[in-house]
């Protein structure tokens, strides 16, 4: 269970998030939607303890991320970018993570197998393609077999097989009672994966509900998204 409560973030004199609240529930895939620069990544970074919130809280099972006892086995996170040093091999990268969390080294081979990187594991991360980097990020997130997954743009840069794999994989995770929060701006993809939708624009939540509720009278999620974000943008500017 992820609880974001009235989150505010200032950077300089810019307000990046202005009072965001939503929940991501166990057993459901929650989609976090918004245009570029709306504050998706900032919210996820605060949730993961990377950035500090100006006010408000982002809790994981009722606790801030930094107070978790076993962060890796509680939350698996894959943020944008590779998250690995270019000169290290993919396997070495996963190994140090496993070591830090006290996981057996055999688990590294397991996750490499799951994300389909076994053959490239001995290569330097710098030589990976965007899609391979994404897979490496997923592998790192899955290392601890966590009950909560937080993924930033997981399908960005993946090939069609990869996208299908992510979709079925996330559905399975949710079906077995796990919490999945993923951010994206790919509407079509999201509509097939998520149960709940949270839409953010200019640092404010503009819609929060199940997929059906959000789509409402619109023909697709995309229509609903444009309707909600452009309408809101009109209010702000």
């Amino acid at each position: 269970m992820l609880t974001i409560n009235n989150l505010v973030k200032h950077r300089g004199n810019q307000e990046i998030l202005s009072g965001i609240s939503f929940k991501a529930r166990p057993g459901r895939v929650t989609g976090f939607l918004g245009p570029n620069g709306a504050g998706k990544s900032s919210t996820l970074r605060i949730l993961l303890g990377l950035d500090r919130a100006t006010s408000g809280s982002a809790l994981i099972n009722g606790k801030p991320f930094t107070e978790l006892h076993n962060p890796l086995t509680t939350v698996g996170a894959a943020l944008d970018g590779f998250g690995a040093h270019r000169m290290r091999t993919g396997r070495a990268h996963l190994r140090w993570i496993a070591r830090a969390a006290g996981l057996p080294q055999s688990r590294v081979e397991e996750v490499l197998e799951i994300v389909g990187l076994t053959n490239a594991a001995g290569k330097r991360v710098g030589s990976y393609s965007l899609g391979m980097g994404k897979r490496l990020g997923m592998a790192a997130a899955l290392l601890g077999d966590p009950e909560i997954l937080v993924l930033d743009e997981p399908v960005n840069g993946l090939d069609p097989q990869g996208i299908r794999w992510i979709r079925t994989f996330l559905r399975e995770r949710a079906a077995s009672g796990n919490t999945v929060l993923l951010s994206s701006h790919l509407m079509g993809e999201l509509a097939e994966t998520v149960d709940d939708v949270v839409i953010i624009n200019h640092g404010k939540i503009v819609a929060d509900g199940t997929l059906e509720e959000i789509i409402g009278n619109h023909s697709t999620l995309e229509e609903a998204f444009f309707d909600l974000t452009s309408e809101h943008a009109g209010d702000v500017v």
């Binding site: 944008d80 970018g81 590779f82 991360v125 990976y128 965007l130 980097g133």
Partner: protein
Amino acid sequence: MRAFNAELSKLFSLPGIWLAFLIGVFAPAVVAALDSLAQKEEIIAGVSTRLSEVGYIGLGFGVQGVIILGVLAVSSEYLTESSESGGGQQITTSLTVVKSRFHFLLAKAGAVTVISILLCIVAMMTIVPTTHLILGEYAPAFEWTRLIGAVCYWTFTALLALGMTLLTKNGIIPLAVLMINSSVVSFSVLLSKITKLAFYLPDRAGLEMFMFTSDKFHTPSTGSFFDRFHTPFTGGLVMFAWVVVIFIVAAIVFHRRDAAS
């Protein structure tokens, strides 16, 4: 010309470049001021053996600024240390917008040369009033030939830094080697103790363009590091030869290797 302008704007948008400017402009003046203060009594008493070098020594140190400039110009193309970049190397973009790699290299070297020359001129304009302020009438006269020598020294050093970084694709080694070598504990000083060949190293030869003018009158040649070994002109020529050689090697390597490897 367009590529040259692009390189200039790329350089000016690097945050690290301001560090280079800061060091290039202020360090020489500060060093010259400190040196003048330390030498003041001796100079007034007329016993200083280093009068003709007061001030110029600042130019010897300020070269650190252009070293940073030359290194950054290339290393910024290869390495980005931002938490958001997923391995983006600017070099791939840079090479797709110019006609050929040779043009790219030429534009880059041109931009670095122009900035080094400007930086050196600014540095001199801060040194001259500083030494005059402190030493008053005793301040040494600044000869044009030596000032031109200093400009050449700065430019060649910046180009050496650029060429070396192009070979290593990483700023650490060129920065360390060149920064240490342009300090008072230079490797060249050390090497000159065991072999005369050290006088042909680029920094040692290059310094002859504007330093070590007085010593030959005062002391018989002892083989010490601070004796004049070349004439300013041959010194400059030796250093220029180094720059050319490194550039040719770098250009060949750069031409052959894959952009992002």
